[in-house]
Symmetry: C2
Subunit: 356 residues, 2 copies
Amino acid sequence: MLALAGYPLGLQFRFFDPTPNAPAGQLAEQIVADYADQAALERFARGADVVTYEFENVPVETAQWLEQFAPVYPPPAALHTAQDRLNEKTLFQQLGLLTPPFAPVNTAQELQAAVEKIGLPAVLKTRRLGYDGKGQFVLKTPEDLAAAWQTLGGAPLVLESFVAFEREISVLAVRNREGATAFYPLVENQHAEGILRLSQPSGNSSLLQFSAEEFAQRILNSLNYVGLLAIEFFEKDGQLLANEMAPRVHNSGHWTIEGAETSQFENHLRAVLGWPLGPTHLRGHAAMLNLIGELPDVEQILAIPNAHLHLYGKTPRAGRKLGHITVREPEKEMMQSKLKLLQKIVEKGASVGGKP
Amino acid sequence: MLALAGYPLGLQFRFFDPTPNAPAGQLAEQIVADYADQAALERFARGADVVTYEFENVPVETAQWLEQFAPVYPPPAALHTAQDRLNEKTLFQQLGLLTPPFAPVNTAQELQAAVEKIGLPAVLKTRRLGYDGKGQFVLKTPEDLAAAWQTLGGAPLVLESFVAFEREISVLAVRNREGATAFYPLVENQHAEGILRLSQPSGNSSLLQFSAEEFAQRILNSLNYVGLLAIEFFEKDGQLLANEMAPRVHNSGHWTIEGAETSQFENHLRAVLGWPLGPTHLRGHAAMLNLIGELPDVEQILAIPNAHLHLYGKTPRAGRKLGHITVREPEKEMMQSKLKLLQKIVEKGASVGGKP
């Protein structure tokens, strides 16, 4: 989606992905190699004006090594922070953001101590490499500790209080090389089985929007960030608790292709190139529905007026994000009605809703 | 732009272009060969679900030959008609559309007779292969006949009355394999030096819109057309005179990427695949400005909020269409103001306006 947004701006692309036949390889040369293969990395980056990434588990060492060939944005330091839940939450705290209570866990004893400090229910998470609900264990009673340790023990962990939040919200912030910033309207997200299902730019109070932008601005500044940054919050009792951040274009911003004046993809490219950012305001009412695990009937989707289909060219597999649909309507009620219809078609009865 | 619209629909592409390094070649395999190279054509079309084109001078024989491998849309018969101004205008007449008076011209004597019949001013045009004002000669006085014949004589020609029209208007019509049709709002076009400069979906009276759709429907039906068809009209005294048609996505429809709910590119693909067509209604007020001959300063353009840049990856050359900018605004006045600003930046004083 970055490349599709970039070609009209006159950009050319080269991709690096360890997996052969990655979807992006349809759109330009793909270099297939390990992240540690320096010769391949050089072949990839040599001659580029800028290097960026849209996968937060790119090794920090790889991102740093590439800096000898071209500027790498978002800065590898942001990648370093975002790859470790403990570093990330510590940064949030240092910058004065509220977070759910948390504690590092490296041993079974520390787990015991962390539970005593934070209370139950709580979520034990690996500090690194978790996504889509993987690497997490929900602790409801003291009896769950042994199983949780059995499952995750050994890796560096963090225990977080389980927040009975009202909503999950994300803000998409973007900062360019000159330090100019822009923020998209807050997005309300719904997950199921740890995977994002539905994102909607929400009718949040302007106070929440203001708070989220203020928090995002602090993070952008502290990291001297360049590019698009997504920050996920829990909303509870009118407050935003910072949960995590992603130093890349984000699934909860895919609706911006049709739903905002400038898509997150175009704004990310503008940012890393040092170009002026585009307006982030809404165009009508929009919502985005992820296509997980199996592909829908294309014609059935396209028969719904104002439903916009985006497939990623991936092979279907359980739990895999294969695409998304954005519905955009001038009137909110009609948007909601069509969204319900699309959910019915796409999810075939699978549960969608708040956190379990 | 077709490929950029098609990837999100899950489509894959292969391109055929006699010119090496055509812009589309960045986006997928490009086969470079002559239109008569049957082995190359087979390599191109073998295994495809459908073949389409976005250049109206593809030889009809090539389009027909490809039909043994896959359906070819728009139908080669439409290409055949559109490639010859005389056939095209004759079809318009047969279907009851008004046209400027015209007459075939094959000899200097016939030119003399045609001028006597039609009167002056008039435009002498080659029947085939003219575009962007090439292959045309404006006759103002009887003294111009010799020079016109000197310039164009030899090729099959057509003389057309020079219409002192009020506006140039196009309609973008689309028909899918099931015969479903959709029509975009009428577009008002401004040319300079024979090249399209500016297109705006206009606030035309609903009667004009109705007439244009009715005319387009007749043409679509008569050709059993599949895909997007552009028809250009002159508006004079409240009537539409059919000037020409293009059996492809059209420059006067490029604004649909941001300005309509479904772009002409996506609807063309949906049509040739037999998929449901998408809504064609406007999203706000939009206008499209062509970038001719030289590239603008990208940052200067992107600094204008709601200006959307589209570059085609072509090498600059005098008179060449290198890209376009679409400006889209909720309010018409603001759109017009920004359009003026963009024109100032882009055209650096070059004249834009009605027909000379």
